[in-house]
């Protein structure tokens, strides 16, 4: 039966060669039988299965080369000389100091940029003003500017002879080569994340629910906390996750601004770089594992929260 239909189909295809395609299609539509539709459906299905396997292989291969192998390499290197060396190289004062530094910079950057990001998103979505487009472009600037260049910008601005730096210098406040400068650099590179993730959610959210809240007697502040914030929270969570990940991983801008002074202005990434250039591979890879692990935890938590999103 199937063979038969196949033959018919083939014959028809031969027959219609050279005839314009629309009439061929029309003919097919008219004379389509159950057998034929069934057959052609199965063929399409088989085809898509081949495509699926090809795609899967490509994805797995890519994944292997870019993620699995490098992680395996780091783990192997770190534990090459046993667990003891792994622990001792992580507990040196310089290593501990660098992790503490990264921790505080990340906390501060997340708090400041979450608040600022929400304000930015609200202003850009709900208000109309002159030069709004230019402003929106500026928000994305940190994505476009190389972090190293950004670091130099802050040196020019806050350096001992900089425009603002000289004022701070006169008041004995250290900005560059100190924590404040490193924080400013991190704030700069993580600026777009919260704003960019919250903006589309806020736009979709619209105005009606807020208006409904006002009519029910809620103040602007109450409306923000009880109505707006819960509605944008997934965008916000995503933005914060990206901010954390970027703060932990930031290297270039912080390197320039901090001066990378051991036990003073070294973050975890700078510490890894230091150990690496000092040929202390065990130290470098041990610290790298901790950072990789931190990223892994953040991503998994994120996934769990996202999984729950469907059930509110």
């Amino acid at each position: 039966m199937n063979n038969n239909a196949d033959a018919v189909k083939l014959a028809r295809r031969e027959n219609h060669k050279g005839i314009n395609s629309s009439s061929f299609l029309f003919d097919q539509l008219l004379s389509v039988s159950f057998d034929q539709t069934f057959l052609s459906k199965r063929k399409v299905w088989r085809k898509s299965l081949v495509g699926k396997y090809l795609l899967m292989t490509a994805v797995i291969g890519w994944f292997l080369v870019l993620i699995v192998l490098p992680v395996y390499g780091i783990v192997k290197k770190a534990f090459q000389n046993g667990l003891t060396l792994f622990i001792t190289s992580l507990t040196t004062p310089a290593a501990i100091h660098s992790f503490v530094m990264t921790f505080w910079i990340t906390i501060a950057a997340v708090i400041i940029n979450t608040a600022f990001g929400i304000i930015l998103a609200v202003v850009l979505v709900k208000h109309k003003f002159r030069g709004k487009l230019l402003f929106e472009g500026l928000v994305d600037l940190p994505f476009a500017v190389s972090p190293v260049v950004a670091g130099f910008m802050f040196i020019i601005l806050f350096g001992p002879n900089g425009w603002l730096g000289s004022w701070f210098e006169a008041h004995h406040i250290k900005i560059v080569y100190a924590f404040p400068g490193m924080l400013i650099a991190t704030l700069f590179v993580t600026l777009p994340f919260v704003a960019r993730e919250v903006m589309p959610v806020l736009l979709e959210f619209g105005l009606e629910q807020e208006e409904a809240a006002y009519i029910l007697g809620a103040s602007k502040w109450q409306t923000f906390w009880k109505v707006t914030l819960p509605s944008i929270k997934w965008g916000l969570v995503y933005g914060i996750t990206l901010t954390i990940a970027r703060s932990i991983g930031e290297f270039g801008a912080v390197l320039v601004v901090s001066g990378s002074i051991i036990n003073k202005t070294q973050t975890a990434t700078l510490h890894i770089h230091q150990e690496f250039t000092d040929y202390n591979y065990a130290g470098a890879f041990s610290a790298a594992i901790i950072l990789a692990f931190a990223s892994f935890i953040i991503l998994t938590t994120m996934q769990c929260i996202y999984g729950r999103k469907g059930i509110h």
């Binding site: 009606e208 629910q209 208006e211 409904a212 809240a213 006002y214 009519i215 029910l216 007697g217 809620a218 103040s219 109450q222 009880k226 109505v227 819960p230 509605s231 509110h312």
Partner: protein
């Protein structure tokens, strides 16, 4: 006194959305703001709620001037077309929201939720989220939420606009019964004349930001003050005619419609009186427009009197409960509504010569831009 709107004006840039609008709503009344889309009716409602600031004019709620009061302080219930429910809250949280921000006691809130859930017949849905409810259920939650704060007035912005026809009808009827029970002063905005006629106590007809007429459904339908009102509410035929030597002729023909136009009142459109007996303007010679409701036309195979108009049936449309028959007179189309049982007997068919007699009609001066109104109504789909 329920709601008083006085000399309200609102512009958006160069566009005049609300143009000197005044009307009153008695305490306990259910009033419809009826008009085509873009006529400014929603803007008026939003101004009453305090969601928009008027450029000028005053709003009084239960006798108090609230024009400069914030939305929060007006104590209004508002139902949005697209519900505007808080999506991250359950039905009971939605209803509780207003009472919680107004710091009511927990026991009171609990009691009130139960009462309202019963009132809008949503028992068993308290823990559901809005996206687990149907459109009609969501709108009932929105209504319960609005009523929870015991508002002085209830405003509904196209409350059934997003629902399908069947649910719409049921909910509209339910709202009417509901309003009778609660007796809360209410305004609802709609572009659906049937809805307005069916459930409102009075109708305020709005066109291009202005009040065209205020009155009970019957009055607005039977005694329209302007051509706009006549043609917007209900189906209507517009016929060009001429007044000559005390007679009304169909334009460019010698068909006489009425022999004694001097006894007819003339509707000037807008403010003029229009009831019979209070003629303030007798008909002069010149071009006029006749407005005739389809149900006021009688269709006959033979002329009953000399005044009957000969015409040709061009199309017969099946409408379910009745037939709509299009006839042509001198290039103009007239629609007649015929009872179902007249057709199966084979009484009417297309291309048949028939005679029309008008039981009643209204007459307006032609210079009021009849063409434009005609086009506008066509555009809106009110006439074909």
């Amino acid at each position: 006194m329920g709601i008083v709107v006085q000399n309200l004006c609102k512009r958006f840039g160069a566009f005049v959305a609300v143009d000197n609008v005044s009307f009153e709503v008695q305490a306990g009344e259910l009033v419809a703001l009826l008009g085509p889309s873009g006529s400014g009716k929603s803007t008026i409602l939003r101004i009453i709620a305090g969601l928009e600031r008027p450029d000028s004019g005053e709003i009084y709620l239960t006798g108090k001037d609230v024009t400069s009061l914030s939305t929060q302080k007006r104590k209004i219930g508002f139902v949005f077309q697209h519900y505007a429910l808080f999506k991250h809250m359950t039905v009971e949280k939605n209803i509780a929201f207003g009472m919680e921000v107004q710091k009511h006691k927990k026991e009171y809130i609990k009691e009130k939720i139960e009462e309202l859930v019963n009132l809008v017949r949503l028992q068993g849905y308290e823990k559901h989220y809005p996206d687990q409810l149907s459109g009609g259920q969501r709108q009932r939650v929105a209504l319960a939420r609005a009523l929870a704060v015991e508002p002085k007035v209830l405003l509904l912005d196209e409350p059934f606009g997003a629902l399908d026809a069947k649910v719409r009808d049921n909910l509209a009827q339910w709202l009417q019964e509901f309003h009778k029970k609660l007796n809360i002063t209410s305004i609802f905005v709609t572009h659906d004349q049937n809805e307005a006629i069916k459930i409102s106590d009075r109708i305020v007809v709005i066109n291009r930001g202005r009040v065209e007429q205020v009155g009970a459904a019957k009055e607005v339908y039977e005694h329209p003050r302007s051509k706009f009102v006549a043609s917007f509410i209900g189906q209507v035929n517009l016929l060009d005619a001429v007044v000559k030597k005390n007679q009304i002729f169909i334009k460019d023909t010698d068909y006489i419609i009425d022999n004694n136009p001097l006894t007819l009142p003339l509707n000037k459109g807008g403010q003029g009186g229009c009831k019979k007996g209070e003629n303030n303007d007798l008909l002069n010679e010149g071009d006029v427009v006749l407005l005739i409701r389809p149900e006021n036309i009688e269709l006959n195979g033979e002329p009953k009197s000399q005044r009957d108009l000969p015409c040709l049936i061009t199309r017969i449309h099946y409408q379910g409960s009745h037939y709509k028959i299009d006839c042509a007179i001198n290039g103009m189309s007239v629609t007649v509504i015929e009872n179902k049982h007249n057709i199966p007997q084979g009484q009417w068919h297309e291309n048949q010569r028939v005679f029309l007699s008008f039981r009643s009609f209204r007459i307006f001066r032609a210079e009021e831009g009849h063409e434009r109104i005609h086009e506008k109504l066509k555009e809106l789909g009110y006439i074909e």
